[in-house]
Symmetry: C2
Amino acid sequence: MARLLSIGEFSRMTHLSVKALRHYDDVGLLQPAAVDASSGYRRYAVAQVPSAQVIRRFRDLDMPLDRIKDVLDAPDAATRDRIIVDHLAEMERKLDQTQVTVASLRMLLEGSATGAIDHRSIAPVRAVAVRARVKWDDAEAWLSDAFDAIRATIARIGAERCGPDGALYAPAFFEAHDGDVLAFAPARAVAHDDVVDVPGGMYAVTVHEGSFATLDTAYAALGTHVTERAIGADGPIREHYVVSGYDADDEHDWRTEVCWPIR
Amino acid sequence: MARLLSIGEFSRMTHLSVKALRHYDDVGLLQPAAVDASSGYRRYAVAQVPSAQVIRRFRDLDMPLDRIKDVLDAPDAATRDRIIVDHLAEMERKLDQTQVTVASLRMLLEGSATGAIDHRSIAPVRAVAVRARVKWDDAEAWLSDAFDAIRATIARIGAERCGPDGALYAPAFFEAHDGDVLAFAPARAVAHDDVVDVPGGMYAVTVHEGSFATLDTAYAALGTHVTERAIGADGPIREHYVVSGYDADDEHDWRTEVCWPIR
DNA sequence: TTGCTCCTCACGTCACGTGAGGTGGC
DNA sequence: TTGCTCCTCACGTCACGTGAGGTGGC
């Protein structure tokens, strides 16, 4: 009863190009209902149109083919919806970033002022910490999870907080966009798996106000300052999250200290 | 006087990865202030930091490297700003599309109704027209320009309008996302370079309401209808822009007739 | 029968990332 | 002097697009 469609007819009906349809067949995302054994001609069923429409829409939303496959293969509606909601949330975050980027672009092109830089000796401090090798694009999510975990640990072992959240970033994190990060919360605590001694030292420090998307301006100012004075030293870069997502919902109100090691 | 920076230092200051910096050098987007002749070591100047920051922001906005180069090489601020404004406008359009796509995705997953389909004989008609080979992604912009040009021609030669704007789409436009499109406006007019006779014929027709981003649902409905009855015929697909951007600002109010050739 | 549709490689594109293998600078 | 930074290939990734060269269906 079901008349099958040629790839060309299916393409016109779904607005997916023939090349795209063949690619989706290759990767197993959308396989034709039948393939002629002798000619290799692909035959699609009318019933496959809805899947094709869903694929097209997710591709319009830049969802990777793998994740689209997960959506189509989801065992139940709840699983499916979770993947979709996650993706939409991700898009929304990206969109917020876009607004910030556009605004900061305008400031950059107009040439704007940067904050003051001072030199500071930071003392070693004991802290509850989490360490991992982190990829650049995963950093915000990882950091957020890390501080949630750290807070849970502090509560569990009954440690006493004594400073704002901070993190140490290995040079490779910036240079290869993949490197070691140590997230820490200063706290008076006894020895424990998750308790470390964060080393101190001399730093050039500036305060960044606003989203992490524009943190690079603070880095540029510090790097320039340190280079011009030839006072740079090796070691990780340190950030202190003086006002963060835990304290203010609006990214505009965030305050981050960036500390560049100096001699 | 100007101390130069190693690629690693420059990377940390700008948050561009070392690999990215080397790539930008290769394509001529951001070339180091100096390159050591014997070692090939790249040396960057502090003065190059602003360019790097601009590049980073445009990349965050998904601007292609070529266009970023155009921005940086712009001879004056006016040219530069035009490129930027164009890009932001493009992003805004894409964002609007995203909203439509999300909404239509929801409808698809919930399974929604489609409009009625009727069979109609369309008579040949004389029209002022523009024809070109058009790529899928350029189609909306091309169509908009085409109808502007057609309106200008109608006014110039004093033709009398006798029907809504329309267009014929060759199969290759859908199948290869690159094919011939004829945009036309029915008009009583004498022979002229831009006057053509648009052929008539039998069509299965449905009306699509809303953005072009969801036009594929009308195509799917028509294709299914035609396939199930085995009445499909060759030839271009025809669209009539009954209510378009000239009549309504809100895409929700647009009405497009989609005409699929039948026997 | 003609030509149009469809097929399968193989390679290109874009903006890098991922190693491999080797050399130079502090 | 050691090892860390930097170098250059060469190839991989992602989602297709672009031909080339050939066969099958109406």
